[in-house]
């Protein structure tokens, strides 16, 4: 069914977009203030990096702070940053001296790709597994799935990643262990796909997969004996039609609502996954920037991550609207929120 932008839904969208803008503005201010409160100074980090990790002297640090304008008051620095940011200029990286925008343009697409594919794996896997667990009449199948999900849910993301790496790259040697391609090899689709499999699987399985599958299971299971399903069966509809239209669609609402929120967690997981699989995305960049106190890069990465999470939440809401007529028609979410 096509999603029609009727007035209540349009209003809902506009409200959401305005909120998103306010959130992004608040996020940037908060990020600036928090980084300002953080102990240590970026100048010290930079000099330490240029000194082979050895601590620089206090005089050197003070000189560089003056030179970089880091000793200006916070409002002045924030004002300078906002003036640039609204024109798309996020300044220069403290460490490499490159424009931050350029660094983001280089890394963000790879994180977006990884997160997208991992989400696709997550959705497909969770729906399949959850559905089987919900509709099966064999208790051992359900219990088996529940146990597996429990174990998976308790495993930290980086452990899942290393296990996958060990099985498929080190032991079976069927998939490459990291990067986009072999060095110097052009990154074509045929090269990229095998390199993408392990990090995407690690990200999907390592983050919320268990939760998603359980949400599908309970969402669908709750409806198994619902009157409308009994009615549909009584009308003589085919089993497949009943499952798809009367069980799955309404049963997926809780899962879908959670999925939009979960993308935030997935982004956080991408940071660790990228590090292990040498994936050149924003996550690795963020870890480096945090380590080196490269606040120019860090602020921009936090903002980009924030925007992605907000957009994902919005898409999640739209998907729920598509699945749940109450939202579509009244602009209210299923639990009555605006």
């Amino acid at each position: 069914m096509v999603l029609v932008l009727n007035p209540p839904l349009l209003g809902f969208l506009v409200r959401r977009a305005v909120t998103a803008l306010v959130v992004v503005a608040a996020l940037s201010a908060l990020c600036f203030a928090l980084l300002d409160l953080a102990p240590g100074s970026p100048a010290e980090s930079i000099l330490e990096a240029r000194n082979g990790g050895r601590p620089p002297s206090a005089a050197e640090v003070a000189r560089l702070e003056r030179h970089m304008g880091l000793d200006d008051p916070l409002p002045q620095r924030y004002g300078r940053w906002v003036a640039g940011a609204v024109r798309g200029d996020f300044g220069l990286s403290y460490g490499s001296g490159r424009p931050v925008g350029e660094i983001l343009a280089e890394t963000a697409p790879w994180t977006a790709l990884l997160t997208l594919v991992a989400t696709a794996f997550s959705v497909a896997g969770a729906v399949a597994v959850g559905l089987v667990a919900a509709v099966t009449r064999r208790a051992w199948v359900r219990r088996g799935i529940e146990t597996a999900l429990f174990v998976l849910g308790g495993m930290p993301g980086f452990v899942t990643a290393l296990l996958l790496l060990w099985v498929f790259a080190a032991w079976l040697r069927v998939l490459p262990s990291g990067g986009l391609a072999r060095p110097g090899e052009p990154v074509t689709l045929g090269v990229l796909v095998p390199h993408l499999v392990l990090p995407a699987l690690a990200l999907a399985f390592g983050h919320h997969f268990g939760t998603y599958a359980r949400l599908v299971e309970t969402g669908v299971g709750r409806l198994r004996n619902a009157p409308h399903v009994a009615n549909a069966r009584a009308r003589g509809l085919r089993g497949r039609t009943v499952t798809a239209r009367h069980l799955l669609r309404p049963g997926l609402v809780p899962f879908t609502a959670r999925l939009g929120v979960g993308v935030g967690g997935l982004m956080a997981g991408a940071y660790a996954t990228e590090q292990i699989f040498s994936w050149p995305g924003v996550g690795r960049q963020a870890i480096l920037a945090a380590r080196d106190q490269d606040y120019a890069v860090l602020t921009a990465v936090v903002l980009v991550t924030g925007v992605i999470v907000i957009v994902a939440n919005l898409l999640g809401d739209l998907a729920v609207a598509w699945l749940d007529p109450r939202v579509r028609l009244t602009g209210r979410t299923s639990d009555g929120r605006h």
Binding site: R50, R54, P55, A58, S96, G97, L165, S278
Partner: protein
């Protein structure tokens, strides 16, 4: 080498996992096959490839792309680099360098003495931006009477100058009108070293090609790829899979790497040491006998065995691996000697088995950067040893950023310094009283000893080899009598290469992560 918390977390995993992993046979190191390319994996990725924005220990790419007027040989002695010879005036305030004839930059432009002048002037002017500018503060001016002659005029004799000019030369034509921190040059540098940078993909790899017009002739390896693989275990997996030919590996991984007979391990000593710094603002460290006792109470061999997996050597001073080393300090694990010194200082063991004098124990907190897993391990082992020996010590790692703001409040700290070349560097700063923390220097423990000060000043102020040797011998003797640190260990560094790669030559490296490619122009496939 600095590590993110994440990587540290996964080392523990890796040790467990890889004990069982990597069993099967496979393609193995691809050495010599793929068009002769040598692919090497390393964890740390530099933010810039500009040698003026690093210290004397540069990352492999910068090391291969750039050359300075001088360089160091296998014994860490200064030898000619881009300069074929030099002359030093009697009073030590004038250096005349003669460049090799026909030098060219990687882009084909000629390299002249103007580039020498440009490099020194630029680094000096960069001041705060380039920590290495401190090496040229004595240089008043650089003159270029002709294209191959550069004359440095100094305001005072500065013995480490020949060391300092081993820094890579910068091309004037590529940097005119730009800041030294220019991101473009930092990512696509032009040097005169043995390898030319063909491609640099941040977060992925750097691709280097042999430079045809390198002054010693075209290097024999046609191509080198440096791959950035931050996760330690992933790096070992790639090595064993043959995805890379060589890799920098951690001490704990040595045993696994050795079990593969296609891999040869290159283990080099380094000048990079770890020690426990005393903060002299704490009166508990006032008595030198107490500090000597601690130097006899720690079991350095146990630290090397456990924390460094045997990849290191016990340390007794800052110049143990330096050409200027003299008689080593007598420090070794000797509990009886430690007890004797403590009794001599007026201490007696209390009911808890802790040394006590006038109702006070030798109480202090030992800390270090929580992000550095190796330092934290040293902290734990050393704190346990010293506590068992009767010192009232507690060990608490703190975040790097916290430590940076609290140098003056620390009790003791697991510190790392290293002096591979001239004895002045990374020694004057940490131990001379003019460099005390409160004066803005890098003497973080505010150590002060008149004999040490005098010896260091003598060492830096004369060019006479004999006098310098004597000055640094006096320095080491004074340091042993009045120890500023509890010396722990020098780190070894391990690099895995394919068995058919010849040329890597053992040398005492300045840093445990960098320096392996120092003679790369001589490497080849056998």
């Amino acid at each position: 080498m600095r590590k993110s918390v994440l990587v540290v977390g996964s080392i523990a995993m890796a040790t467990g996992l890889l004990a069982t992993a990597c069993g099967g046979s496979g393609s193995g190191p691809a050495g010599g096959k793929s068009g002769g390319t040598f692919t090497y994996a390393i964890g740390d990725e530099p933010e810039t490839l500009n040698p003026a924005l690093q210290d004397e220990h540069t990352d492999p790419v910068t090391e291969m792309v750039f050359r300075g007027l001088t360089r160091h040989d296998a014994d860490n002695k200064v030898v000619p680099g881009l300069a074929e010879s030099w002359r030093v005036a009697e009073n030590g305030t004038e250096y005349t360098f003669k460049l090799r004839p026909g030098l060219t930059w990687h882009d084909g432009k000629p390299l002249t003495s103007k580039d020498v002048k440009f490099t020194i002037d630029t680094v000096k002017a960069a001041g705060a931006d380039a920590p290495l500018s401190r090496n040229f503060s004595a240089v008043r001016s650089v003159e270029t009477p002709d294209d191959t002659t550069a004359t440095f005029r100094l305001s005072r004799p500065f013995a480490p100058l020949l060391d300092a000019v081993s820094m890579g030369l910068l091309p004037e034509h590529a940097l005119t009108g730009k800041k030294i921190t220019d991101g473009g040059f930092g990512q696509a540098p032009i040097g005169a070293g043995p390898f030319r940078l063909k491609a640099f993909k941040p977060g992925q790899y750097a691709e280097l090609e042999a430079f045809d017009r390198y002054y010693e002739g075209r290097p024999r390896l046609p191509k080198i790829v440096i791959k950035y693989v931050p996760d330690d275990s992933a790096r070992l997996i790639q090595l064993r899979n043959g995805e890379v030919d060589g890799a920098h590996i951690q001490p704990q991984q040595v045993a696994r790497a050795k079990s593969d007979d296609r891999i040869r391990l290159e283990t080099y000593p380094t000048a990079d040491y770890r020690a426990l710094l005393f903060n002299f603002k704490n009166p508990v460290f006032a008595d030198r006998k107490v500090r000597q006792a601690m130097n006899f109470a720690v079991d350095r061999d146990a630290v090397v065995r456990s924390v460094l997996a045997g990849q290191g050597k016990p340390a007794t001073g800052p110049l143990d691996t330096n050409p200027f080393r003299s008689e080593p300090a007598p420090f070794r694990h000797d509990p009886a000697r430690a007890d004797e010194l403590m009794k001599g200082a007026g201490y007696a063991k209390n009911a808890q088995g802790l040394w006590e004098k006038d109702g006070k124990t030798v109480r202090f907190e030992l800390t270090t950067f929580a992000e550095d897993s190796a330092r934290v391990a040293i902290l734990n082992v050393a704190a346990t040893q010293l506590r068992q020996a009767g010192f009232d010590i507690s060990g608490t790692p703190k975040p790097r950023s916290w430590v940076r703001d609290h140098w003056g409040d620390l009790g003791a700290f697991v510190i790392g310094w290293g002096t591979p070349y001239d004895a002045d560097s990374s020694v004057f700063g940490p131990f001379h009283s003019s460099e005390e923390l409160d004066k803005g220097g890098s003497n973080y423990g505010s150590y002060k000893n008149a004999e040490v000060d005098k010896a260091l000043e003598r060492g830096r102020g004369t060019l006479d080899e004999g006098k310098r040797q004597a000055a640094y011998a006096d320095f080491q003797k004074a340091l042993a009598e009045d120890p500023p640190f509890v010396w722990i260990a020098y780190l070894d560094t391990n690099n895995a290469v394919p068995g058919n790669l010849t040329g890597p030559q053992r040398r005492t490296l300045g840093h445990h992560g960098y320096g392996f490619f120092w003679n790369v122009e001589k490497w080849s496939w056998s």
